[in-house]
């Protein structure tokens, strides 16, 4: 009967229900968009680190992110690392911003990523057109489909000038986007060094693969002791550092999280207003319940039942809109992400928001005087 009464109270005044649901919808969609963008940005920032196969990263001292490695490491560090106990492989990566000259004039920036996937380090993922073998052919590179217009090319076979040399698009990826909006251009490491005019052993990062059973922390300590101007980070630490650099030092992440909190706050206020006035309208009924002998807990359950029902209906409608926005953002430079965890977290947030919104209503009925049932 608790849910029946809650349901009837809720649907008794359809206009107020609509306002309540709009408040929840507004909140859910705004929070979903902000957090979806946050997750999408996080994925873009860490996608190369997440797809690289190595327990440790050797970076130039102070490297802030995957794009910020410079070309400061050399073969000496590689040999020193290979000499450490527990190290199986040390795989070089070259990563640097470079100028891409558009075939029809003007230029833009790209992030040159030099990798030799045969070494098992960073293997370009989501290759949908062409293969890595194609990329290995003369001047070959792989870029993401979504940046073709930005790069002023049409697709496979088109050529452009990058830094000191010419490149030809030989393969395309899908969904490999860059948070900096400078597209990633994947190519063999020797071609990357050539384009960037870097010495033959210049390297941005070394990916360290450990021997089976080796202790990550002790290998890291050993490696750290060997380098004066290089850092040794776990993949997790490098991820966190990259996220911190792009999301929090630039303020982008703070803006996204701030937007989500604002959405939550505005939604809570709207829902609190409407649910409170609904409770106030039904005060005589709650007083009757109290006079009939119901415990205050019973009445609280009715009120929370109203909140729960509003939350479920609002969540379902909000998620339909949020998923539509996620779908629409797929082809944009800043795609939203919706994960099962985010969906579950949003549901929990909605329930929490509606429950918090009912605090004032619960406070009101706690002070209810059952004697008001006798007022004529």
């Amino acid at each position: 009967m608790i849910l029946t009464l809650a349901f009837r109270n809720l649907f008794h005044d359809r206009v107020r229900l609509a306002v309540t649901l709009i408040g929840i919808l507004f909140s859910i969609v705004l929070v979903a968009v902000q957090l979806g963008l946050y997750l999408g940005s996080s994925r873009m920032i860490t996608s190369n680190i997440d797809n690289a196969r190595g327990e440790l990263w050797i970076t130039a001292f102070g490297a802030k992110s995957f794009e910020d490695g410079g070309l400061l490491l050399h073969s000496a560090e590689r040999h020193q690392a290979l000499a450490a106990a527990g190290v199986a492989e040390v795989i070089p990566l070259v990563v640097s911003f470079a100028e891409w000259r558009r075939p029809n004039g003007g230029s833009t920036r790209v992030v040159v990523v030099g990798t030799d996937p045969e070494d098992g380090g960073l293997v370009p993922w989501s290759l949908t057109d062409g293969t890595w073998l194609d990329v290995k052919s003369p001047d070959g590179i792989a870029v993401d489909k979504s940046y073709l217009a930005e790069l002023d090319v049409k697709g496979i076979g088109d050529t452009a000038q990058v830094a000191h040399g010419r490149v030809r698009i030989k393969a395309l990826t899908e969904g490999v986007r860059s948070f900096t909006q400078a597209p990633y251009a994947y190519m063999p490491i020797s071609r990357a060094r050539h384009l960037l005019g870097a010495p033959g052993d210049a390297t941005s990062f070394y990916l360290v693969k450990l021997q089976p059973g080796a202790d990550v922390e002790s290998v890291r300590r050993d490696l750290k002791s060997r380098f004066e101007s290089a850092e040794v980070l776990t993949a997790e630490e490098f991820r966190d550092r990259s996220l911190n650099t792009w999301l929090f030092q630039t303020g982008a992440g703070v803006a996204l999280i701030g937007g989500a909190l604002l959405g939550l706050l505005v939604g809570t206020v709207i829902v609190a207003q409407t649910l409170y006035s609904s409770t106030k309208d039904h005060l005589a009924e709650f007083a009757t319940l109290r006079a009939l002998g119901s415990s205050s807990g019973y009445i609280h359950k009715v009120i929370l039942g109203q909140a729960g029902l509003s939350a479920v209906i609002g969540y379902v409608l909000g998620m339909i809109i949020a998923l539509a926005v996620v779908y629409a953002s797929r082809g944009t430079p800043l795609p939203m992400v919706m994960t099962p965890w985010l969906a579950a977290a949003l549901f929990a947030v909605t329930i929490f928001m509606c429950a918090i919104s009912q605090l004032s209503a619960i406070f009101k009925v706690t002070k209810i005087d059952p004697a008001m049932v006798f007022s004529k």
């Binding site: 009967m1 608790i2 029946t4 009464l5 009837r8 109270n9 649907f11 008794h12 005589a284 009924e285 009757t288 319940l289 109290r290 006079a291 009939l292 002998g293 119901s294 415990s295 205050s296 019973y298 059952p370 004697a371 049932v373 006798f374 004529k376």
Partner: protein
């Protein structure tokens, strides 16, 4: 044989308001309600009828004095403990019915059982049974808005007796009803008192209720000023005459 009271007010004093506005609504009222008895509590407006009903129903706490429910004192009980006493022993009927407008007749009765922890099929069957008992078997799914005043009050009676309380307290149950419906509701309450051995207290100033009373308690200015009991063998019209004679004499 005199039966033990199920509800007893002992020397009840109730002060309302504070400071200069403080008034004594009840000034040392004592009364007892026994099973199988329909008692009318009559008095002019402002005499303290409803205040006494609220205190007997454990809704208001007296300033001093004690309310004993089936022999148990309620002195010092918290609001939650008093609610427990109401759940266990007392059924209420209100002047303006106080039905839930969004619930059907059967749901209005079921909710009184639900607050007592009785739910599911058995509760639904019990609600239907009491509604049929008050003559509303054909209105089970009707909402209050689609029922007459008399029907709504009968739903309220069904709600009050569904959980088989020892005492039924009714506040002006006929005030909003026409003559026919007023008599029907009073006949129903009298039957409940007799057939189900409950104690029924009706607060009223409606003279149409007199024929149904076993006892009439009169209250004025916060004090019990008189009590008439229907003598053994005296039928309903005779007690009405008794009341009239008393009024004329006064």
């Amino acid at each position: 044989m005199k039966r033990e009271p199920v509800l007893e007010a002992v020397d009840i004093v109730k002060e309302l308001g504070s400071g200069a506005a403080k008034v004594q609504a009840l000034k040392g009222v004592s009364m007892a309600l026994r099973p199988s008895e329909l008692t009318l509590l009559m008095g002019p407006s402002g005499s303290g009828k409803t205040t006494l009903l609220s205190i007997l129903g454990c809704i208001l706490k007296p300033t001093s004095g004690d309310v004993r429910v089936v022999g148990e004192s309620t002195i010092g009980m918290s609001a939650e403990q008093l609610a427990t006493v109401r759940r266990a022993h007392i059924g209420f009927i209100f002047q303006s019915y106080n039905l839930f407008p969004t619930l059907s007749a059967i749901e209005n009765v079921r909710i009184a059982l639900d607050v007592r922890g009785q739910s599911g099929f058995k509760a639904a069957a019990r609600a239907e049974e009491v509604l049929r008992d008050v003559g509303l078997g054909h209105r089970l799914r009707y909402h209050p808005g689609n029922m007459s005043g008399g029907e709504q009050q009968r739903v309220a009676v069904a709600r009050a007796i569904a959980a088989s309380p020892s005492v039924v307290l009714a506040d002006e149950p006929t005030a909003a009803l026409d003559t026919e419906n007023g008599h029907a509701v009073m006949a129903l309450l009298a039957r409940i008192a007799k057939e189900q051995a409950r104690s029924v207290l009706v607060v009223t100033h409606d003279p149409r209720t007199l024929p149904y009373a076993d006892r009439v308690v009169r209250i004025e200015d916060g004090r019990i000023v008189g009590e008439e009991r229907r003598p053994e063998g005296l039928d309903a019209p005779e007690i009405t005459d008794l009341a009239k004679r008393r009024k004329a004499h006064a």
